[in-house]
């Protein structure tokens, strides 16, 4: 039910100092610090990258593909996320950035922003057809979709069943631009750790058409070095509507659905989903939820500050002049998801409900005896999470420094009590 356990977000144990900073920021309480290092529970991790952002020792990282992954393919197509355009200052136009990618070993580029326009059309058409007033949830952000699977499974049936712009772009390349060929490699240039995971284990699709995912931060330096020298030619085809998907509000604006709200940053996304699960937001038709601050520009694999990147991209949208005609029209390709996105049982205490109930009861008792400071010294994100760990047998009560001190004091008192008053001579033996 939980599928494969590959995750892009991983730990470098040699750098981890067991400082417990990361455990508080994980939205699914997936991290524990035990035996001197952090451990990430695969079944709970949603690849949001929060831990990568906050780790003071750079011990959290996202596994992605190196540029050498291009080598086996004759045709090597880069699919740059529109976020890439905001990584460089105004001297470098989108055309120049796209031409720069061709200097790094790619033989062709296809803007994900171009596919985003088609995805916007498909999603808007789907929303118009359903007749259900919503709220419907965007399925574009892989961390948000996974958050729903783990923490809000009752909302999964609200996902708009249209594939992401990355997947749509890869399919357009393989099925329209290079049909019938098996020597075409398609590589997403990614701000996002979650995209690495879904390129291997896609959500709502049986297979991904993406052959590799390369981090923006890994192409940044070679691309930056190439940019001043490239001969610029017109390659940019996406309109402002597609480019705007790089930041929050971009998708909602592109879909042009009335009564849409957009929310970014995993904590705020959770707030909106909690309200939605409580039956609020009946008057909302569409929710664009993105896990990273300010949207994809805030992705953990980017280089530039998200707010600077967003400002740059917005100014590109205002100046948008596209020399080339769009190649594809709405409805060009079937962009619907192929299967339901199902729940992941990551948070249940036990697979069997009776057993889970016993553990929950025990958790409540243990939690009552804890100080409730959520200090993190035990390696769990909160006293309650620690109580669950103890009930499940994953931790012992004396991992809590306060309980340890309490036990030591008791032990000391017992020792003193055992020594007791000296027996008088002649009494006892």
């Amino acid at each position: 039910m939980n599928g494969a356990s590959f995750h892009s977000v991983t730990l470098d144990p040699t750098k981890c100092k067991a400082c417990t900073t990361c455990i508080r920021f994980c939205p699914t309480e997936a991290i524990r610090v035990r035996k001197g290092r952090a451990h990430i529970a695969d079944e709970r991790c949603v690849d949001c990258g929060e831990c990568i952002r906050v780790c003071p020792n750079n011990a959290k990282k996202a596994v992605s593909d190196p540029l050498s992954a291009l080598e086996p393919f004759a045709v090597r197509v880069a699919l740059p996320a529109p976020t890439l355009y905001g990584q460089f200052d105004e001297r470098f136009s989108i055309d120049r950035i796209l031409c720069g990618l061709l200097e790094l070993g790619f033989t062709d580029v296809f803007e994900v922003a171009e596919a985003a326009e088609l995805v916007s059309d498909a999603a808007a058409a789907w929303l118009a057809r359903t007749g259900d007033g919503g709220p419907w949830l965007s399925s574009a952000c892989p961390a948000v979709v996974k958050l729903l699977q783990v923490r809000f499974p009752s909302l999964l049936d609200r996902l708009v069943p249209i594939m992401s712009p990355m997947e749509a772009a890869a399919r357009l390349v393989k099925e329209r631009l290079y049909p019938g060929r098996d020597d075409v490699g398609v590589f997403f240039i990614s701000p996002c750790a979650g995209k690495v995971t879904v390129s291997r284990y896609p959500q709502g699709l049986s297979d991904s058409s993406v052959d590799g995912v390369i981090a923006i931060k890994d192409v940044y330096l070679p691309l930056r070095a190439a940019l001043p020298g490239v001969t610029e030619r017109p390659l940019h085809r996406a309109s402002a509507r597609g480019v705007a998907w790089a930041h929050i509000d971009g998708e909602s604006d592109a879909l042009a659905v009335p009564r849409a709200i957009s929310v970014s940053g995993i904590a705020d996304v959770i707030g909106v989903f909690e309200a939605l699960e409580n039956g609020k937001m009946k008057d909302v038709a569409f929710i664009e939820a993105l896990a990273c601050p300010a949207g994809c520009v805030g992705g953990p694999l980017t280089v530039e500050n998200p707010y600077i990147a967003r400002a740059r991209i917005r100014s590109m949208e205002h100046r948008a002049t596209v020399a080339l005609e769009p190649r594809f029209r709405a409805g060009e390709l079937d962009l619907r998801l192929e299967r339901e996105v199902s729940a992941r049982a990551g948070l249940a205490l036990a697979p069997d409900m009776l057993k889970a109930m016993l553990l929950l009861e025990e958790t409540e008792l243990i939690a009552e005896s804890l100080p409730g400071l959520d200090c993190g010294s035990c390696g769990a994100p909160s006293c309650r999470a620690f109580a669950e760990d103890v009930a499940k047998g994953d931790a012992v009560i004396t991992d809590c420094v306060f309980k340890l001190r309490e036990n030591l004091r008791k032990l000391g008192e017992e020792l003193i009590g055992m020594e007791g008053p000296q027996p008088e001579p002649g009494r006892g033996r």
Partner: protein, 144 residues
């Protein structure tokens, strides 16, 4: 097992905490998502009523393997005409509550729709006790 929470009648920003805790507990038990959502909707509505009309009170959730029974008890003014209160659109909520998006008169009907059993014991001056029962019917599916 029983969970118990005090619901403050003083602080609107804390309204929803108790239902959030029960939602979390049901998730830990592995209850099917559709039943969790139904419980959350009912309890959240009842908790809001308790804060807005009842001046706070006590929320209890009795968990069994096949159902949850939530009891919300306040010592507020009580409901003078229960039949009227159950009608869709009937509301006594003050304007400021309506401005927050509550008080449309859908609370009790919505709770009735989402629960498997709803009982309201109330009399003017005696407070209100709302009892909500939700069954964990596995045939409801995963909600996915």
């Amino acid at each position: 097992m029983k969970l118990r929470y005090e619901v403050s009648g003083e602080d609107m920003s804390l309204a929803g905490k108790a239902s959030g805790e029960v939602k979390r507990a049901l998730g830990r038990l592995g209850v099917n998502p559709a039943a969790i959502k139904r419980t959350a909707v009912c309890m959240y509505e009842a908790e809001m009523n308790m804060v807005i009309h009842g001046g706070g009170g006590v929320a209890e959730a009795e968990l069994s393997p096949d159902r949850v029974v939530v009891t919300m008890r306040d010592s507020g003014p009580g409901i003078p005409d229960l039949e009227l209160a159950m009608q869709e659109g009937y509301s006594t909520a003050p304007e400021w509550i309506r401005e927050m998006g509550f008080g449309a008169g859908m609370g009790l009907p919505n709770m009735k729709r989402n629960s498997d059993e709803l009982r309201i014991d109330s009399a003017p001056g005696k407070g209100t006790t709302v009892t909500i029962m939700v069954k964990f019917d596995s045939s409801e599916g995963t909600g996915a």
